[in-house]
Assembly symmetry: none
Homo-oligomer: 239 residues x 2
């Protein structure tokens, strides 16, 4: 398994390098490469912004040129908010990271190129890439910052690892326990003379079933509701 | 079409409010709500950080409580990196924003709650929500910052623009109507002398909130339940 490499091309602010490192590690990416960082390397402003992702910074590799930085990679995407007029396939984060993952599991290294904060990647940079990854943004407000672009790419990497939806907490209640609650409410309504016509009772029964079956209640919650019904039915202490 | 609302609960730094506004507008979200921002509002540090998304800040609405901020919303997600041990369904950004979109196309308003930078949402905040949106992060490095959490939610909103699924069935009830049901039940329990110690009342309140927010009730169902509570409380005809 070879997770993709994040390559910052001529980054300007040490703070943004640190933020990018943090964003990477949030989503398990750890291989950072810097091409000709403006203020040299190491940069004292990167560490604090990394907020604990120092390991990523310490192991970052520095290159003079993009060519060198991508030499060992089998596929490289240029990230860009607005694709230039170039003959390159343009793809979404989801598709690009899906491809990166399918290569990673075959131990093939891939990379994502991010341009300088102000100007973005040049046509020469992009020419070294296989495709352009375009993050879909508001056409009227597309000023995504560097760390945010990195976090979205890293997030897509991790998201595709496997959708894990987890049911936290207790399992839903067996239907029999729910029935007990329905019967109790109906009995109290009977006692209160709620049903003026017999026909309304099955309608209410169905309504209650629909309502509580939706609710995915736990046993504890059913017990609480039964206590509530009992207490309200008993009425005022002096009654 | 009603895009979801972003609700920052007790945000601490104006800078983060600005960054959140920028992240929202990058992905076409424009409805920002602030609950009790620590340093008041407006905050002079928000504007520069918004980097042009001033409109979102100018139109932000301020609330004293989370209850007020979500009163008109039919479905609310609590965002959290690590779900607490609570009885709420836990879902992914993709699923949650898919649901939000299916409600948006039916002109139903939804919202996403983000907690304060340091401490996150409280259990009382979460009790007001229908589900917990957990952003899947590196289990060994999960310190996602506020603006990054917002950008990921906003990104998922925009990413799913192509995939419109329509909400099946009746729309869920606005939170304000649910609150009426909670208050009615608590009032009846008060009248019945149910709470022997004052401390138990807020526990019951949270329990009821959790329970009914799960249920995705319709307005009709809430009315039915209110009628049931009233009838049972009134008690036997001869009493």
């Amino acid at each position: 398994m070879r997770p993709p490499v994040i390559i910052l091309v001529r980054p300007q602010l040490g703070q943004n390098i640190g933020k990018a490192a943090r964003a990477m590690l949030n989503f398990t990416l750890a291989d950072l490469r810097l091409v000709a960082p403006r203020d040299g390397w190491p940069n004292p402003e990167a560490g604090p912004a990394a907020a604990g992702a120092d390991d990523v910074l310490d192991r970052a590799r520095i290159f003079d040129t993009v060519e060198d930085a991508v030499a060992d990679l089998v596929m490289v995407w240029a990230t860009s908010v607005r694709p230039r007029d170039m003959v390159k396939p343009v793809t979404t984060p989801e598709k690009a990271l899906g491809e990166a993952r399918s290569l990673a599991v075959k131990d093939q290294s891939t990379g994502f190129l991010f341009g300088p904060e102000r100007s973005g990647l040049t046509n020469d940079d992009i020419a070294l890439c296989d495709a352009i990854l375009t993050i879909p943004v508001n056409p009227d407000f597309g000023s995504l910052n560097l760390a945010q672009a990195v976090v979205l790419v890293a997030y897509e990497w991790y998201r595709l690892e496997g959708e894990r939806e987890v049911w936290k907490g207790d399992p839903p209640v067996p239907k029999g326990e729910l029935d007990g609650l329905h019967r109790q409410i109906l009995a109290e309504l009977d006692a209160a003379g709620y049903f003026r016509t017999k026909a309304r009772r099955p309608v209410m029964e169905r309504t209650l079933r629909n309502l509580f079956s939706h609710a995915r209640l736990t046993s504890q919650q059913v017990q609480t509701l039964r206590g509530v019904v009992k207490a309200i039915a008993r009425g005022k202490p002096g009654k």
